[in-house]
Symmetry: C2
Subunit: 498 residues, 2 copies
Amino acid sequence: MTETGFQQAVIPESFAGQVAQIAAFIARYHGTMETRAVMPSVDPGAVFDTLPSRAPESAEPFDAIMADVEQIILPALAHWQHPMFFGYFPANASAPAMLADLLCAGLGVQGMLWQTSPACTELEMRVLDWLGELIALPKAFLFGTEGASGAGGGGVIQGTASEAVLSTMIAARAAHGGTSAPHHTVYASTQAHSSVVKAARMCGVVAEHVRLVPTSSDLAMDASALQAMINADIAQGRAPAFICATLGTTSTGAMDPLASIGPIAQRAGAWLHVDAAWAGSAFVCPELRAPMEGIEHADSFNFNPHKWLLTNFDCSCLWLNGQARREQLINAMSITPEYLRNQASESGKVVDYRDWHVPLGRRFRALKLWFVLRMFGAEGLREHIKADLAMAQWLESQVHEEPRLELLAPPSLALLCLAVKAADAPQANAHTRALHDWLRNDGQAVLTHTTVPDGSQAGRYGLRIAIGSPATTQAHVVRLWNLLQHGLDAVIGASTSV
Amino acid sequence: MTETGFQQAVIPESFAGQVAQIAAFIARYHGTMETRAVMPSVDPGAVFDTLPSRAPESAEPFDAIMADVEQIILPALAHWQHPMFFGYFPANASAPAMLADLLCAGLGVQGMLWQTSPACTELEMRVLDWLGELIALPKAFLFGTEGASGAGGGGVIQGTASEAVLSTMIAARAAHGGTSAPHHTVYASTQAHSSVVKAARMCGVVAEHVRLVPTSSDLAMDASALQAMINADIAQGRAPAFICATLGTTSTGAMDPLASIGPIAQRAGAWLHVDAAWAGSAFVCPELRAPMEGIEHADSFNFNPHKWLLTNFDCSCLWLNGQARREQLINAMSITPEYLRNQASESGKVVDYRDWHVPLGRRFRALKLWFVLRMFGAEGLREHIKADLAMAQWLESQVHEEPRLELLAPPSLALLCLAVKAADAPQANAHTRALHDWLRNDGQAVLTHTTVPDGSQAGRYGLRIAIGSPATTQAHVVRLWNLLQHGLDAVIGASTSV
């Protein structure tokens, strides 16, 4: 019998040195970030064409790969961690999360069942309790002292808010009977994230039964319009199954009124899901929790620490309100073939997270949340949010003093949505687009746009400024403000000419 | 105006040293793996109860966290990378993938759209072409020289095979008209993975319309039974929408006959998805590709490099057969709100991967596949597979010479499914369970079980031995074989007594 094992050790001698090289690369990347344009200037297909058309037959040296990272990959990245990146929503990365991601990869465990790595499951249960408490979720959303056997709903890490809304919509549908959904209706505001409509489509809700509820002037859901739609649906024999309320819409950060929506959902027997993907991070600060009023009516609550809470993607946290909702989710998602049966699961004393979402396999993602919560501490997280808020407030005050600009919606946390003022909406839109083009052309800062409804078909073209990158300081926001003024000068002329 | 930015640098001075500590920890963890029991001995709730009930208010030192990793986490992990782990399927981790995971975290980019990080998208396109070619997928499954604009289907990294089957089932349903699926039928063998039934449930296929096709004696789908079921459904006015063929079932590694199923799917107009989650890795070896015969009939093909191809979880690769299938997937999944619109997407010259799956956000997972393909080279990957196969074949030959054991199914690649021989099935099941209990109690090796159909209601209790951990060598398989013999001696007596 000869030794036929794969001859390379899992962790070769070279590993420590290569890890150190990557650590140095990361430090240099962040340290020199500002020397790079935020967005790359690269043609479609350029990277694809540069890379060889086939995999190498023989092993290549690590240094050759790192050289390609430097020369091919870096110039074609959008630098999400750049301090002048104000687009979309932030996608926070942090050193503690990076350390934990390396540890996660190094351990290489698979947490689909409690049985397949108890610590992976139970650390997740615990840090979800920690985080839920930090944002002041009611106790019913936490596992609490009794853990898996308690009356609390508990939390789970999902990959994205899209998966969280899909999972809870499936649970809501199942709770209303049957896997097919011919007469179920689903509600979200016209400003809700596209993932709600996508989830409805994926889980088979009839397209005509997805109701987009009008908003009030603040772009938050109009609760009385929701009530009217539900009444009409019930009168037609349909079954309102699911309502998604958004805290912090993508466009403008609007907060749907939970305190009004909650009782409506309850009377209709509909599952109320709260999507606070971005804004949820802010609720670590007590003074920012006003939008959470009425949260006790929610059946599920989701937010993404991978947006604004210093935890690298992917980390989207979902909590269920009480054991009954937890069981409805599990009942909707659980299928147990023989090869996944085990004593621990059958004891009912453990959580098997595979039944809480779409995928079966799962990484040890709780590690990064644990590292982040401990290495920053609750006060570090609050400081991060408050610093961003202070910068947004400063920027807001500048906009108020600038006659050429206006806010298209009330500022929300660290998100502003602004537009160039003009005689009428079409001209304002043209000017705002021109300002956006000017900024894109200049390249020093990145903003993304949206359309804010104003009753017209076109709506208002708005520039979103989302502050939240850990690298962004007041000096960067001042620089952004100067850029905006230069852009305005170039596009519509100096302030006095308005 | 004062400096109000979050005062901590993204990458603090301490980062390099902490990364080095984790690298050393990982090397030590793998280097001393064999001193640990494969599975932990831990009670439900023990880890949860040990961890503090609330997040720390102030930042804690890194060393305190690493001490808890050592003292609380490690003793409660199942060691999936242990050389004596033969359970479930392997979940390969490797140094190149760990390096890339750290790099991915360090870059912190978000690849939901081409626009939001061109290199993230185009590296993925390229490595999926590399990998597709390595397993000899027909050209129509690759992007090919024309990239995003070509006639090829192309590939995408999904999180798990569960998400791949859900996404393609949704595409199939949409291709058959409508988001609701009242008369659509779905087919998979009785041995298919539970994720197929879960996907059908999630996307709203009526439970009664999920057909589990009987298998032949080799536990592969009986193609004539599939044809008969499809005929019956069509006669009843139902629409066969989706067939999942499995290459390498979870229970015994059975291979559904693609060459027979393909034409049946084509005539029925059903989408044929191939789930080769585990076995797909083996197809890097030309001599192991016989089960791929007929692959040209498939509309989509999926396998998980995170199982048996040295790429850390999560990395599940899905390819579409031709541009038409790619567009059907995208049409089913794409919803574009204003804030995601951009020139690149509208040019049609780029791939926006968010439309290829459930989530919107995405990590730079292509990096780890790229590092793995380059640092091992194609020949390194083949060597890894062949070494595992040689060990499985040696083990098989031992089983054939052992009168107390029998194989419950033909061996498949590096998976064996065996049972204790006895006068009748109930006794054999009792003995095999007893042997499993003995092994669990002994703790030196981990196997998981399954049930193999034998016509009786109980079926046959089988022990699965999945060889595939990069740490496993021939010496470990010999040790496993010795353990099995000791277990047999203890449970049913020495060989001569049979």
